[in-house]
């Protein structure tokens, strides 16, 4: 057994997942409430702690102390299984996200897989089981409708999402997220090819399909995480609270946290693929190769850059939520199958042609 590897991985899991991502979940709930309040000319939670920052703690305590009520008409086993199935996949996808370059000679990624995006898609699509099981096990009509909606929505958008990053994979010829980010650090971000090799006709030409990919990917991400304007599985106005209508206390909190964790991981993936991950713009402090040694302070700056980008992206998520009205269900399906699916396919061909022409 390689003890060094195990200890390093454990430390990274504890620090990245439990000490960073979970508090970030709590903070994004707070940010959501404060930003939505500001947008609607309100104040928002400002009583617990400075600026209401400890509101998340108060909410957590409330959820833990509330009665954990299981209605008599539910299917108990699946009813209990569903919240865990929503939360766990969201956190599992943390494993392949490179959240920094290197710190003390350690790569800042929990599992340096060579199939990063595939792993993320494989795990992230498991989230739907949690929602479908919740809807079905609740044994009542509104959760059931929420679960059914969720299934078709997730399946539709999974395809667009997968197809939208095919052009990106074609350009980088690489499925290792760490190396994709390294490439972006040296040769310009996918959406901002303004330095290194990116500063050429090829770089600018390829930015066009990348921009289309980015829009499809981001929109699908909204649908995958059940955020407005695609929150049809929850859909307060039609389905009470959708799939978690029958849930209370900590089980409800798990759905809630799962949604925000998925949002953070989604933002992290989007930042990694399109906005240069942990790298700073214009190649500042970029390590020469993926294996090059990085001073510890540069490693910390890279980690900071990653989280700054993720937080900015989360704020974008939040503002979009409070800007757009919900899609109608047929509009959602039409957008997924008739527009995004075709555009994503055409985008793959466009990228292939551009690559052929430029080489």
């Amino acid at each position: 057994m390689d003890w060094h590897l195990i200890i390093a991985a454990t430390v990274k899991i504890v620090v990245f997942v439990f000490l960073t991502t979970l508090p970030l979940v709590a903070m994004s709930v707070w940010a959501e409430r404060r930003v939505s309040a500001a947008i609607q000319d309100r104040v928002g939670p400002n009583r617990v702690g400075p600026f209401g920052l400890l509101q998340a703690v108060a909410d957590g305590i409330k959820f833990l102390l509330k009665e954990d009520f299981t209605p008599a008409h539910v299917r108990k086993f699946y009813f209990w299984l569903a919240p865990a199935l929503t939360m766990v996949p969201a956190l599992l996808t943390c494993a392949v996200l490179p959240f920094g370059s290197k710190l003390f000679g350690e790569k800042m990624v929990i599992a340096d897989l060579d199939v990063g995006p595939l792993f993320v898609f494989a795990i992230a699509s498991l989230t739907v089981y949690g929602i479908v099981l919740a809807g079905w096990a609740s044994n009542s009509k509104y959760p059931f409708l929420g679960g059914v909606r969720s299934t078709s929505q997730m399946i539709s958008y999974e395809i667009c999402m997968g197809l939208s990053i095919v052009p990106l994979v074609m350009i980088y010829g690489e499925l290792n997220l760490g190396r994709i980010v390294q490439d972006q650090a040296l040769n310009g971000w996918t959406l901002l090819p303004l330095w290194g090799d990116g500063l050429s006709l090829k770089g600018f030409a390829l930015a066009i399909p990348m921009f289309i990919s980015f829009i499809i990917f981001t929109t699908s991400m909204f649908a995958e995480t059940n955020r407005l304007p695609f929150d049809l599985p929850e859909c307060e106005t039609e389905l009470v609270a959708g799939y978690h209508t029958e849930y209370s206390s900590m089980k409800f909190a798990l759905f809630f946290l799962g949604e925000y964790a998925a949002m953070i991981i989604g933002s992290g993936l989007c930042v990694t693929l399109f906005l240069g991950g942990w790298s700073l713009p214009f190649g500042w402090l970029a390590p020469a190769t993926i294996d090059a040694e990085v001073p510890w302070w540069q490693g910390l700056i890279h980690i900071g850059a990653f989280f700054a980008k993720v937080i900015a992206f989360i704020l974008f998520f939040i503002v979009v939520r409070w800007t757009l009205p919900r899609f109608r269900y047929d509009q959602l399906m039409r957008l997924g199958w008739v527009f995004f699916f075709e555009i994503a396919l055409a985008n793959v061909i466009l990228t292939a042609l551009l690559l052929m022409w430029l080489e």
């Binding site: 930003v35 309040a37 500001a38 947008i39 609607q40 000319d41 309100r42 104040v43 829009i215 503002v319 979009v320 409070w322 800007t323 757009l324």
Partner: protein, 176 residues
Amino acid sequence: MAIIVERPKLKWWEHLYLPGLVLGMRVTLGHLVRNLLGKTKVTMQYPEEKWDSHLPEHYRGAPALVTDEHGRERCVACQLCEFICPPRAITIKPEEIPSEDKWAKVEKRPRVFEIDMIRCIYCGLCEEVCPEQAIYLRKDYAIVGTSRAEMVHDKEKLYQIGGVRTGLVNKWNELK
């Protein structure tokens, strides 16, 4: 009669939805920025900021007993307020004023005067009916307590809220 509502003909770029997103974001971000800069008028932060200075003269808050300028308690325990009180919030137990007292001429005063603030509906009938002008509705409105017993204002508390009122009824004074 059926009314036909013309659907607006959208331009091709309006179909794209993205310009709509940008326009919407301009509205929401505008509100966000104005709010963060403190230019939006938002709701009042209640316990810290209060509306007290804007309360009108006729505001009906907690009822309270008052003393006159000589320190005499004005209430003569006639019990009219107790009888008129619609929710029966007032309890009065009268007693005779002993003859050696300075105000022996008044003859009667309340031994116990309690207003149950859980029952009180702030109607102001007690103030209206009082022939001695001894009970007034003040501007206190945040009456709180952690038990039912705490919500009953006794005589001491009522005089504390009421304070002194001068003028008007002088018929009980020694010197006229």
